[in-house]
Symmetry: C2
Subunit: 236 residues, 2 copies
DNA sequence: AGATAGTGTGTATTTTTTACACTAAGTAAT
DNA sequence: ATTACTTAGTGTAAAAAATACACACTATCT
């Protein structure tokens, strides 16, 4: 640390955004990590993040960072916490605002691989079970993001952001199970989910599976909006 | 706004803390507001807040601001959101981290009146029903803090931070009613609250009331710690 | 034709939440 | 000491929500 500080210029105060970008693919929950190509923490894996420009709001900065990295716009993002320990960055005072985002990975044609900049050599969707130690306090940032998501999924329909537009109830249940880290009862899950009345049953079935194909459903935003006043409770 | 900008020096980027300080007294929920004595928004009411120093963490800064204003330490504080719109401060880019705090007002001997500095001419505990329009985006900040508290009180025992150490069940219920903004059933409330097993019944009774005195209770931190893994649900 | 793998469905039990009203205890006034 | 007043304190029944649990069906593959 000391060496780094003396080699690199010091700066005063900066704010940055760090993003925990969740993706769900083939039943697996992943997050997008970049491999740093600059000091400090060169060669470490880290959460994608960047300095907030003078003329952009925090929300815009988060969207911009996500766009630069994935080519996607209009993604669900949510601010969850701000990290401001004095020495969280070895080069100076950096206060960082944490955002998480949720992306449909399966069959998402718009999704570009992260552009390789001089600060990130690599961007990789990393399964939750295989996370390396991250640079700075990013382990802590990730932990808090995941806590927030786990909590939020229980009362807000954010799971749908991770699924393809048409999905089966089993896929939905698996996603809940992965995030909540517990098995749910199939019959009870379906009963509850269908009872909310926010799913639209389609006339279509799953394709390309070597067993009985399941019905496909869609999240019904209209119906959800109507129920919005009442807090729902999912997956508990 | 334009005038202010031209009179006062511009600065680049700063982060600040703004505090929503809740107090509960005689059945009334209040927040601590200061009356600004400097531009911009001179003479307006505002949330207490200040610039974060280079060498202090966000949490420390929040504690410091609270201490300077009330003389209290060790108060329950919680970060709830960070506000970063580009033009939220007319003089430059100020990103502000919102914290809320909870203080027992009734009989709190340590509580000093806020010191009058050159930036705040006055500090006043203002009942929730009588809030004026606030400076900057402080209305919005307050709103989010209150939402957070309303939500948090339903599953975490933060209400006790606002009550005196010894309190009656009716006082506790009133506090929930004020925060949740709805009447609760007396029998159901008591049943539920006592069932959690986190209250300790004392051998004492309320004094100085002109009617039958109620039993006093204490929040039992030990028992709560044991139950902590389970999420509790209060007041729903 | 049979093996395989996941789909889809109902009921009984327990737990939690809700609704609801009167008596008891202490204080204050006469 | 009687009375009026005000809040404390208590239980039960009904409704709603959560849980536990197992098997027949259907599509595909060989």
């Amino acid at each position: 640390m000391k060496t780094v500080e003396t080699i690199l210029p010091k700066f005063d105060s900066v704010f940055s955004i760090d993003c925990v970008i969740f993706g769900f693919d083939e039943g697996e929950l992943k997050i997008l990590l970049i491999e740093r190509n600059v000091e400090p923490f060169k060669d470490w894996w880290a959460l994608p993040g960047y300095i907030v420009e003078q003329d952009e709001s925090l929300d815009n900065a988060a969207e911009r960072i996500l766009y630069e990295l994935t080519g996607l716009k209009g993604i669900y993002m949510d601010q969850f916490y701000t990290f401001g320990d004095v020495s969280r960055h070895p080069q100076g005072r950096v206060i960082t605002v944490g955002y998480y985002a949720m992306i449909r990975l399966s069959g998402n044609k718009d999704l570009k691989p992260g552009p390789i900049t001089n600060y990130a050599r690599n961007a990789v969707w990393t399964p939750m079970g295989e996370l390396p130690n991250l640079a700075f306090d990013h382990d802590q940032i990730f932990g808090r993001a995941f806590d927030k998501v786990r909590n939020k999924i229980s009362y807000q329909p954010i799971a749908f952001e991770l699924l393809p537009e048409k999905f089966t109830l089993t896929q939905l249940q698996h996603l809940y199970e992965v995030i909540l880290n517990k098995k749910l009862d199939k019959r009870n899950f379906r009963k509850k989910m269908l009872n909310y009345g926010i799913l639209k049953e389609l006339d279509e079935k799953q394709k390309g599976v070597s067993y009985r194909a399941a019905k496909l459903y869609k999240f019904d935003k209209r119906k959800y909006a109507k129920l919005f006043q009442k807090e729902l409770s999912f997956g508990k």
